[in-house]
Symmetry: C2
Subunit: 326 residues, 2 copies
């Protein structure tokens, strides 16, 4: 290959943006029931740490999900966001995630001029790209920056990925994300996929992002692997909180990136003040054997989450069950 890594380990790339997904992916660990105090402290911390985007949660349909059964970051009503960020008079932008098929986007996403939100991240599986593009076009017309987070790409065939990138390339989307939903990709695979995404990104003038999971303790390694080839939107969560094995840890990523605008200390303080109490209160996330087992088999982590919830420890039997399903 003629391609080269972008930048060196000592330089910094001004194109790199980090996105904190703590409330959104972390919300999958506690039913989105973060206190206002937690969310406000996280917001202030992210601003202090030089974070580029903070994802406030999902824009889920209240017709499909009962608001009495989830915390408010599942829905991200404008007034709830304003309660945390005011007019967000900072350099940090705000994002929300909207799942294809789980969002009443025409009802719940109004014009950007009336919202504190800057970016809508549309999440879809690869067979839902046309529906994602409909949402992206709508959100772009409403004045938002947009991302396409194509999930579970480890399950997709090369041809499907090429098609998806072409379709998204011709849409108004700003950023196309490589998403390793199952935490199954190894760095060599991430490098190859990143280069495929970047090729489409160059052709269509789109930025490329990466969202990794930690099933095989590779979330951080895969994130910096993708970044080293040119991915520029990097997702992270404080202490790696996120569904199952969690995500790339903010403290690892900000401890690595060399742009002097990033500050590690606020993250460290926030971990001591807010993440340790969250763990002590019983919220569970992070690398554990069952997630490794679903990750290496390129399977959805749901059965691993159930295994841990049931407090089972018979890993070998669980692996046998997975191999039956595989």
């Amino acid at each position: 290959m003629e391609v080269k890594r972008k930048g060196s380990l000592l330089s910094f790339r001004p194109d790199i943006k980090v996105l904190d997904a703590t409330l959104r992916d972390g919300g999958l660990c506690n039913n989105f029931e973060f206190t206002d105090d937690f969310a406000r402290a996280l917001y202030r911390m992210n601003v202090a740490a030089g974070v580029d985007y903070m994802e406030m949660g999902y824009k889920a349909s209240k017709a499909m999900f009962d608001p009495s059964k989830f915390g408010k970051y599942k829905f991200c009503d404008e007034e709830d966001i304003r309660k945390i960020v005011g007019d967000n008079d900072t350099d940090m932008k705000l994002a929300v995630m909207a799942d294809v098929g789980r969002t009443d986007f025409k009802k719940d996403i109004g014009p950007k001029k009336d919202s504190a939100v800057d970016m809508v991240r549309v999440a879809c599986y690869i067979n839902e790209i046309p529906r994602a593009i409909e949402m992206i076009e709508y959100c772009a017309a409403m004045g938002y920056e947009t991302c396409a987070n194509v999930m579970a790409v480890s399950k997709a065939k090369d041809e499907e990925i090429a098609d998806a990138l072409d379709m998204l390339g011709q849409s108004p989307v700003d950023v196309i994300y490589l998403v390793d939903s199952y935490g199954s990709l190894y760095p060599e695979q991430v490098a190859k996929l990143t280069l495929i995404y970047l090729e489409a990104g160059e052709k269509y003038k789109k930025a490329i992002g990466v969202h990794a999971h930690n099933n095989q303790q590779l979330a951080f390694g895969n994130t910096i692997e993708a970044a080293s080839w040119g991915a520029s939107y990097l997702d992270m969560t404080v202490n790696g909180i996120g569904r199952g094995a969690g995500n790339c840890s903010s403290e690892l990523l900000l401890g690595f990136l060399k742009n002097p605008k990033f500050r590690l200390e606020p993250v460290l303080q926030f971990i001591a003040d807010y993440m340790l109490p969250l763990r002590k209160a019983g919220v569970v996330w992070g690398y554990d054997i069952p997630y490794l087992l679903t990750g290496r088999l390129n399977m959805h982590p749901s059965s691993a989450i159930a295994f841990i919830r049931e407090k089972r420890e018979d890993y070998a039997a669980f692996n046998g069950e997975l191999l039956e399903k595989d």
Copy 2:
């Protein structure tokens, strides 16, 4: 660079050997106080899992370390090893580690023909290479396979590394290890160093090994990065047990390697039966914020270990202390 990765993700490389360092590096977490039951079960598990080498512990000097204050795997007396492995009538080889300056090697290491041990791994800092070579020559003459584990290579200059590799190249050593003692190396650096080691390895007909630490959640990622370029001796420990942030986890590595002789199930069973009880009994290891902080600053983990032992949680203050010392 003209160099290519060796093998593909789906193929397997018959040159790859895995070494279980659970009793040795893990012993640093519990003062080497493993029960005979634990050691025997680990031995049987490693055999069942297709592990190539099992490291039984250190050959520490009893003049320097009081045997009443450490478990027996700090000393690895022949009779204690035999109690676990009998005559080791298996395909798995046994290793011990001997630290330069902490071993009475002429007294404590006898002829191979009288020992169940197959390999002596000599650990040294880069300025101790001549002393390491003295031990390597002695052990080779006694009939053992030998390794040189040059620790803390992240602190060494390129010129020192080149010198060290030349000196070791001309010694009888069989394997030269790239050791990231502080868990500070990123995969790109591991790749570059591995290629430097491999160049010397080809010149002098030595195999290259890798021993990684998990301070930045990169132990597994760095291990497979080094392997992908051609490193062939890969250290691991069950559940990643090892000093501070621990090592590359056996379950991750054996879950990744494609050689059909490796079996994951025995490792999973052993984790449930022996590693979970070890954690419940209060033995502490694995990724934690203080280790990240020493790792990214390329510092010895001792202050992080003390921080955790003191049950401190003021990470930001600790980081400030480290920056003062740096």
